[in-house]
C-alpha cells in the first residue's frame, strides 16, 4: 500500500516553523509609556543631509531636526524666536540678536560669526542652494555681517525684499556649524559630527531605511511657539524616521502602533477619524491654471484666458481630489498671509459664456500625474472639451512636466500648476509669475502684467503688515482681472499622530522637533 500523507506534515511543519520564527522576535516598544523611540514615516529617502541643498519633504525633516534656524513660524504664520531671541527688520535688511549660550552639537560655542558664515554660504550662488530666491529675492546681492560681542548678525540686501525675516525660518536657512562648512561634501552625504545646531543629533543613518535622532542635553533654542498651542507631554528622547513609500502601509503601521506619526494625501487618512488619533489637515498643494502667454499660443489672448476661467468650476475640481481642500481665490489659499479671499475679483464659473470663445479652439494641456494620477488635469480637459475645445492632454510625471512647462522646453498652451508651497507665502507662487522667461528666470508662462509687478514690488518694499497686504491685494487683483492664473483648490494633507502623541503644526507642516508623547 502506498502511503500518501507524508508530504502534508512536512508542509505544515515548515509553515509552523516560519511563523514561529517570526513570533519569537518581539516588536519594538512604542514611544511614551513604552520607552521606545518616537517613530514617524516619510514617503521617500533623503536626497541630502545639507540643509541648504534640500528640495524635498524628507530633506526638510532631516534638516529641521539637526539644524536650528534663527526664527520659526508659528501656527498663525507669525515669526517667533529660534536661535535668535529678537530681531529688527527693514525692507532691505534685518539684524538678529542670538540667544546667549548657544552651542553646536559637539558642545562648542555657536558664535555670531559662525552663524554669519553659514548664511553667507547659503546665499552664495556657488553653493547652488535652494530657497535663496524666496529669502533674498531673485538674483539678489547679499552681505552678512556679525558682531560676536553683541551676538548680532546683520543681513543686508541690495534691493528691498521684506520676506527676509520669515524666510529665515525655512529649513534651507538652517545654521551649520564650522565642521559642516569645512566639509560640504560630507555634509551633503551624511551626518558630520559637530555640524548641528538643532535640538536633535543624527546618531544612526541607514540610507533608504531609517534615521535615528537623539535629543541634545540642555538644548536652549527650541522654537518659541505660542505655549497654548504646544501639546501636553514630554519631548521624546529618541526619534526614528522610517522610509515608508506606500501610504496604506504607513496607515497599517500607525493602526498597529508600529508608527507614532505619518502624513496622508490619499484616502487612508479617513481610517483615523475618531478613535483617539490626533488629526491635523493642512493644505499641501495649491492648484491653479497658468497659460503660455507667448505669441502664437491661445493663452496670449485675454478672451481665451477668460473663457477658460469661466469654463472651470473650482468646487468641482476640489471634488476630484476628495472635496477636502479649500476652493482658492488666488494662487495660494487663505492660510497664506495677505491671500485674497474676495470671490468678486475672481472670474465666475459660466460655461455658457465660455462656449463661444472655446468652441473649435485647439489647445495642448500639460500637467503632472504625480497628484492622484493627474485626475485634475482630466477634469480640466473634459470641462474644456464639453464646450467644444479640442484638448490634447499630456499627463506626465513630475520631472517631465517640470522640463516641459517650468523650463518651457515643451510645446504647451495650458497647465494645471500643482504648487508645493512649503513656505506658505504668496511670494513662493509670485516669483513664478513674473520676471524673465526660463532659462534666465522662472516666469514659465511668459506673463507680462505691469499691475501685478508693481504690487509685488511694493509688497516686498515694506515691512508694515497692513501696507504689505494692501500691496499684495493690488497685485492679486491685477493678475486675476487679466485671468493670468485661474485659482482652483488646495489638495490637503492629513497629519495623523498616535493616540498618545501630538505635535505643533506650523507653516502647513508638522515640526518634527515639537513632538510630544504622553504616558
Amino acid at each position: 500500500m502506498v502511503r500518501t500523507r507524508s508530504a502534508v506534515p512536512a508542509v505544515l511543519a515548515a509553515a509552523a516553523a516560519l511563523i514561529a520564527s517570526g513570533c519569537t522576535t518581539s516588536s519594538e516598544p512604542s514611544a511614551g509609556g513604552g520607552g521606545g523611540p518616537f517613530r514617524y514615516a516619510v514617503t521617500s529617502d533623503a536626497n541630502t543631509f545639507d540643509p541648504a541643498l534640500g528640495t524635498a519633504a524628507t530633506d526638510y525633516s532631516l534638516a529641521r531636526m539637526q539644524f536650528g534656524t534663527l526664527v520659526y513660524r508659528d501656527a498663525d504664520q507669525s515669526v517667533v524666536p529660534g536661535l535668535a531671541e529678537k530681531w529688527t527688520a527693514e525692507p532691505d535688511s534685518a539684524t538678529f540678536t542670538l540667544r546667549g549660550g548657544l552651542t553646536c552639537s559637539d558642545g562648542k560655542p555657536l558664535t555670531a560669526g559662525d552663524v554669519a558664515a553659514s548664511l553667507r554660504r547659503w546665499a552664495d550662488p556657488k553653493t547652488g542652494a535652494a530657497g535663496t530666491g524666496l529669502a533674498f529675492g531673485p538674483g539678489a546681492k547679499v552681505t552678512v555681517a556679525s558682531d560676536d560681542a553683541a551676538r548680532t548678525v546683520t543681513v543686508k540686501l541690495a534691493k528691498p525684499w521684506s520676506d527676509l525675516v520669515p524666510a529665515m525660518a525655512m529649513t534651507n536657512a538652517g545654521i551649520v556649524c564650522p565642521p559642516g562648512l569645512k566639509d560640504p561634501k560630507a555634509l551633503n552625504q551624511g551626518p558630520v559630527p559637530g555640524a548641528g545646531t538643532g535640538p536633535y543629533t543624527l546618531t544612526d543613518a541607514q540610507r533608504g531605511r531609517q534615521y535615528t535622532f537623539k535629543l541634545r542635553d540642555g538644548y536652549n533654542a527650541f522654537p518659541a511657539y505660542e505655549q497654548a498651542k504646544v501639546p501636553a507631554g514630554e519631548r521624546p528622547p529618541t526619534v526614528r524616521l522610517s522610509v515608508v513609500s506606500n501610504e496604506s502601509t504607513a496607515a497599517n503601521q500607525l493602526s498597529t502602533g508600529e508608527l507614532d506619526y505619518a502624513a496622508f494625501t490619499g484616502p487612508d487618512a479617513a481610517r483615523f477619524a475618531g478613535g483617539g488619533y490626533h488629526l491635523h489637515v493642512q493644505p499641501l498643494l495649491r492648484m491653479f491654471v497658468v497659460f503660455n502667454e507667448r505669441k502664437g499660443h491661445p493663452g496670449a489672448d485675454p478672451e481665451f484666458r477668460k473663457a477658460v476661467a469661466q469654463a472651470l468650476d473650482p468646487a468641482a475640481f476640489n471634488k476630484v481630489y476628495g472635496g477636502k481642500g479649500e476652493v482658492m481665490k488666488s494662487w495660494s489659499d487663505s492660510t497664506s498671509q495677505c491671500a485674497n479671499t474676495d470671490g468678486s475679483i475672481v472670474t465666475r464659473t459660466d460655461p455658457a459664456a465660455a462656449k463661444k470663445a472655446l468652441n473649435g479652439v485647439s489647445l495642448k494641456l500639460n500637467g503632472t500625474n504625480s497628484v492622484a494620477g493627474g485626475s485634475g488635469n482630466t477634469y480640466v480637459q473634459e470641462a474644456l472639451r464639453a464646450l467644444g475645445a479640442k484638448v490634447a492632454l499630456r499627463n506626465v510625471d513630475n520631472a517631465t512636466w517640470a522640463s516641459d512647462v517650468l523650463a518651457n522646453k515643451g510645446d504647451w498652451d495650458v497647465t494645471v500648476m500643482a504648487h508645493l508651497n512649503f513656505s506658505g507665502t504668496l511670494t513662493a507662487g509670485a516669483i513664478l509669475l513674473t520676471g524673465p522667461n526660463p532659462p534666465e528666470g522662472r516666469n514659465f508662462g511668459g506673463i507680462r502684467n505691469a499691475g501685478f509687478d508693481a504690487g509685488f514690488a511694493k509688497a516686498m518694499a515694506t515691512t508694515d503688515q497692513a501696507g504689505k497686504c494692501a500691496a499684495w491685494g493690488a497685485a492679486q487683483k491685477a493678475l486675476l482681472e487679466r485671468d493670468d492664473v485661474v485659482p482652483l483648490s488646495t489638495v490637503p494633507v492629513a497629519f495623523v499622530l498616535g493616540k498618545n502623541a501630538d505635535a505643533v503644526v506650523t507653516g502647513g507642516a508638522v515640526d518634527p522637533t515639537s513632538f510630544r508623547v504622553q504616558g
Binding site: V2, T4, S6, V8, A10, V11, A14, L18, S21, G22, C23, T24, T25, S26, S27, A41, D45, A46, N47, T48, T55, P125, G128, A130, G131, P138, G139, K185, N188, Q189, R207, G208, R209, S242, V243, V244, S245, N246, S248, T249, A250, N252, Q253, S255, T256, E258, V396, D397, A399, T400, A402, S403, L406, A407, H419, L432, P439, E440, G441, R442
Partner: protein, 339 residues
C-alpha cells in the same frame, strides 16, 4: 517477482566521445556559456546607457526643484556632466565600469555601488527565502497530490488543488500582501505590518512573494509527477513494495528535478528584479523601490547600475542552473541552455 527494479532511465553516455577522441563536454559548455555571458554584459552596458537617454525629463531640473532658475539648473547639468556629448558621456561611463566604478547618484551623490550594496541584501534575503519556501512547499505538495490522485483517485482533492492553486497563483502579490497584513498584523497582531526589523518582519513579505510561485510550481510538479508515476519503472518499484520515501525520493524525484530547478531559477531571477510591489506594501528597503525612485528622479547612474547588476545576477544564476542541470544530467551539456 523476479524482475529487477527498473531504475530511472540511465543517462546517455557523455557527449563528446566520437571517433575515439574523448573531449570533456564541460569545456565546450563553459566556453559557450562564458561567451554568452560576455555578450550579455556588453549588451547590458550599451542598452542601459541608451535606455535612460530615452526617458523624457531633465535630471538637472528634477534635482534642482521647481523653484530653481535656469542658471541653477544649468549649473547642476554641468556638475552632472550632462552638458557633454552622448559619446563623451558613454566613454566616461564605460571607463568608470572598467575601473569598477558604477558612478555616483545624481540625486543623493552616493556612489552607486553603495546604493546597490545597501539595498541588494534586503532584496536577496527576500528572494532567496521566498524561493526556498517555494521549493520546500511546492515540490512535496505537487508530488503528494500527484500520488494521492494517481489513477483518477480522489477527484475532489484534485479539483480543490487545481482550484486553490489557480486562484492563489493568479492573485496579484499586492492583494495577497494586503490580505496577509489585514489578517496577521492588523486583526491577529501576530506579526509586524511592515518594516525590516527582525525575523518577524520577514514572514509576511516572504510569504507574499512565495505564495503565487508556490502555486504555479506545485501545479507543474503535480503534472510532471503524474507522468513519472505512470512510468514502467515506477510501477515495478511499487510492485516491489519499496517504502514510500525510497520510492518517491529515490525514483520519482530525480526525474522531476530538471524542470523544477529550471523553473525555480527563473522564478528566483524574477524575484530579484521584481519584488517592487511587495517591497512597497511592506516598506521593505530593497532595490526595487530604489529603482522606482531613481526613475522618477531621472537618476541615470542608479538606473544604469541597478539594471546592470541585476542583469549580471540573472545571467550568473542561469549559468549556475545550467551547471547544476549538467551535473544532474550530462546530456544537457550539449543542449541549449535554459537562458
Amino acid at each position: 517477482m523476479t524482475a529487477a527494479v527498473q531504475e530511472a532511465p540511465a543517462p546517455a553516455p557523455p557527449p563528446g566521445k566520437a571517433g575515439g577522441r574523448v573531449r570533456n563536454p564541460w569545456i565546450g559548455f563553459l566556453a559557450r556559456r562564458l561567451a554568452g555571458l560576455a555578450g550579455v554584459l556588453v549588451t547590458l552596458v550599451v542598452v542601459t546607457f541608451l535606455m535612460v537617454q530615452l526617458i523624457p525629463g531633465d535630471p538637472a531640473r528634477a534635482l534642482a526643484g521647481t523653484d530653481a532658475t535656469g542658471a541653477q539648473v544649468a549649473r547642476f547639468r554641468h556638475e552632472l556632466g550632462l552638458d557633454r556629448s552622448l559619446p563623451a558621456q558613454f566613454g566616461s561611463y564605460v571607463s568608470g565600469l572598467l575601473h569598477g566604478d558604477l558612478g555616483t547618484s545624481f540625486q543623493t551623490r552616493e556612489p552607486v555601488a553603495n546604493v546597490i550594496g545597501g539595498r541588494l541584501p534586503f532584496t536577496a534575503e527576500l528572494a532567496f527565502l521566498a524561493i526556498l519556501l517555494v521549493l520546500a512547499v511546492a515540490v512535496p505538495l505537487g508530488m503528494g497530490v500527484a500520488v494521492a490522485t494517481r489513477g483518477g483517485r480522489r477527484r475532489r482533492l484534485d479539483a480543490a488543488f487545481t482550484f486553490l492553486t489557480g486562484l492563489v497563483g493568479a492573485t496579484p502579490e499586492y492583494v495577497l500582501g494586503t490580505l496577509l497584513v489585514l489578517v496577521f498584523a492588523i486583526s491577529l497582531r501576530m506579526l509586524p505590518a511592515a518594516g525590516a526589523a527582525g525575523l518577524s518582519a520577514l514572514v509576511l513579505p516572504v510569504v507574499a512573494v512565495a505564495l503565487p510561485s508556490t502555486c504555479v510550481l506545485a501545479r507543474i510538479v503535480r503534472r510532471e509527477a503524474a507522468v513519472v508515476l505512470n512510468q514502467d519503472y515506477m510501477r515495478t518499484a511499487r510492485g516491489r513494495r519499496l517504502p514510500p520515501l525510497a520510492l518517491y525520493a529515490r525514483h520519482a524525484l530525480p526525474n522531476l528535478l530538471t524542470g523544477t530547478l529550471t523553473m525555480g531559477g527563473l522564478m528566483l531571477t524574477a524575484m530579484l528584479g521584481g519584488t517592487i510591489i511587495v517591497e512597497s506594501v511592506f516598506a521593505w528597503p530593497g532595490l526595487g523601490g530604489r529603482v522606482v525612485q531613481a526613475i522618477i528622479n531621472r537618476d541615470y547612474p542608479v538606473i544604469q547600475g541597478t539594471v546592470l547588476v541585476l542583469g549580471i545576477l540573472a545571467a550568473l544564476l542561469n549559468l549556475l542552473i545550467d551547471v547544476l542541470l549538467g551535473l544532474l544530467d550530462p546530456r544537457t551539456l550539449t543542449a541549449r541552455s535554459t537562458s
